[in-house]
Symmetry: C2
Subunit: 397 residues, 2 copies
Amino acid sequence: VDGPVRQRSLWQHNLALVLGHVGAATPTSRAEVAAATGLTRATVSSLVEDLLGAGLVTEVEPAPRTGAGRPATGLVLNPGGPAGLGLEINVDFLAAAVVDLTGAVRHHVVHRVDQRGRPPERVLADVARMAAEAVDGVDLTVAAARLAVPGLVNGDGLVRVAPNLGWRDVDVPGPLAAAPRWPALPVSVDNEANLGALGELAAAPTPPSFLYVSGEVGIGAGVVLDGALFRGAHGWSGEIGHVTVAPDGPLCRCGARGCLEQYAGQEAIMRAAGIRADPMLSADVAVARIADLAAASDPGVLNALRAAGAALGIAAAGVVNVLDVDTVVLGGSFAALADWLGSQVERELRERVLTADWSPISVRASALGAAATVVGAAGAVVRDLRAAPASWVNALR
Amino acid sequence: VDGPVRQRSLWQHNLALVLGHVGAATPTSRAEVAAATGLTRATVSSLVEDLLGAGLVTEVEPAPRTGAGRPATGLVLNPGGPAGLGLEINVDFLAAAVVDLTGAVRHHVVHRVDQRGRPPERVLADVARMAAEAVDGVDLTVAAARLAVPGLVNGDGLVRVAPNLGWRDVDVPGPLAAAPRWPALPVSVDNEANLGALGELAAAPTPPSFLYVSGEVGIGAGVVLDGALFRGAHGWSGEIGHVTVAPDGPLCRCGARGCLEQYAGQEAIMRAAGIRADPMLSADVAVARIADLAAASDPGVLNALRAAGAALGIAAAGVVNVLDVDTVVLGGSFAALADWLGSQVERELRERVLTADWSPISVRASALGAAATVVGAAGAVVRDLRAAPASWVNALR
């Protein structure tokens, strides 16, 4: 109970309700929406007019019917309606994606350039250029942008720290807005694993609650509870990379001992596998090399992945014991290594989760793999639009 | 968006809204409720009539006013309105409590008898008798009962396992309903740490999200997120006692190695302190003895508490890293030992939580101490009633 329900919020609520039904079962008809929602036909018709006028819904030819009566006009989400722009800054690449209102990916570009040590304003100028190219490259109105960074982000878009980029207290929205090519969109900034989790939620059939663990140079997590991302008190949830695996383990960059990143981060896996770190080798090439060696049964690599999977399983088991989520999704570079990591993670979960005897925990690779974050970022814009269409409808009036 | 808002649910929503305002600022007036909620005075008056008729709200004499105009009649939650019955089965005690609609504790009884090895139906017959005495002992209508058990509970009240009681797959509502003295109340069953967390939420000023860790013979947790208990996929959240502290640590009853219970459970503390386990010694007496020895600076006990606090801090740090909750509440027997455990827990959080540099994590003892669970159980009934008063109002019509 958070406010009175009066006429205005009633319209907002029911507008979202109708759009939700159109999105869930397309094509549908006004009559079917009325039956499913319990709203009167007149109310549904009026709300559908609002949605048609704002370009959120479109009409399609009815399918031929064998029964009696005139077939109803079908309603679908408008693939030409407002779209979302996703942007991603990661340690060794930048990415942009556009997702349309139906959730389809309409644009996806990755630039593989190491971002370590580059001044943030240079990085953000490149991001602004990629955003402009994405907006120009699709025949859609882009409603807003969401930018993923591998670090701790405040609600106002200040990046408190992105350790593997070397960023500390970097303002993002200001420099973006000032960049010459920036396409003047509202932008919000979020953690990359959070957006990867949202990508997974949109792309794959998932249970309402799951733990998404993203391996990049660092390790992050997105915690999805009851169908929504759980952000925590400051928006800093998901720091699974710094969960203690062994209290007296190796010293981590963060100052603590035995953090998960020291066992299952990319550098730790390379080190354990005896592969020399090569600054010229981008992370995705390094991951592909690890996967190739594992596929060729290289004993050193297999041992390294076993150890990483066990550590990942110990950390995940702690989360599952406390939250009772029944699915762990391996994302980022862990998705490419899931064939080797998965069984170890499952083994630790089976042994360490108290309730595993009653209900097994499912472990699987992300459906979107490395694209989860940037597609999830774009999809998050669309998700927000579909959940609260009233502001878009009002903005066009 | 989970359903259409129509007249009926509008009434339910606004009824809860008005009751919420009466509960939040008492005494208040119809005019103040109208101003705070944005509802019309006529709507508020009609809703207040419904609440008065059902005994949820009562009128009080207005305070003398210095300004002009007739002072408004005050509205308060009715202390004589429907109440909640809390019941608790724990390893070495049974407890019952009644909480009235305002949240005041009106009855609280604890029977210190070891329950280990007793047949569940005997335990439940005792609980039924305590319930009857509680209902008879207060001059209130008890609306429903909530029963706490130290174990994994299904939604239908089946206790899957309560390891320290030795229960497995024990049906609770059936035998309770069949017990001769049971006062024929609707009853639901929940985990003790979950209800302790709800007790804390109701009794003390807490942030919207916190981790409540309850030490008894076992260790459980209640995870409160955005003001609500998070139960997980099966209602089995909060098993922090089985979070791994050290992967190769001592073998736990659950079959895994290095679980938190093996470092900070009561038996582990006693063992580390060199105090011989005495089956005649009830847990609360044992805890009091540990606290006395710690207060007298017994070095063995201080070392044992330091080790327990460190383990508790390592497990709590994992939860805080993943969920970004900023408060850890020490409940159950940990409340009585908080003077010694707290600083160690804080130290590990400071070292192991990535974001601790930006925002410190607060650690404190439960406001209700050992009574948190049974008072929380009774309060949970009242909380549900206050959040959704429509069914109570309708039942009386």
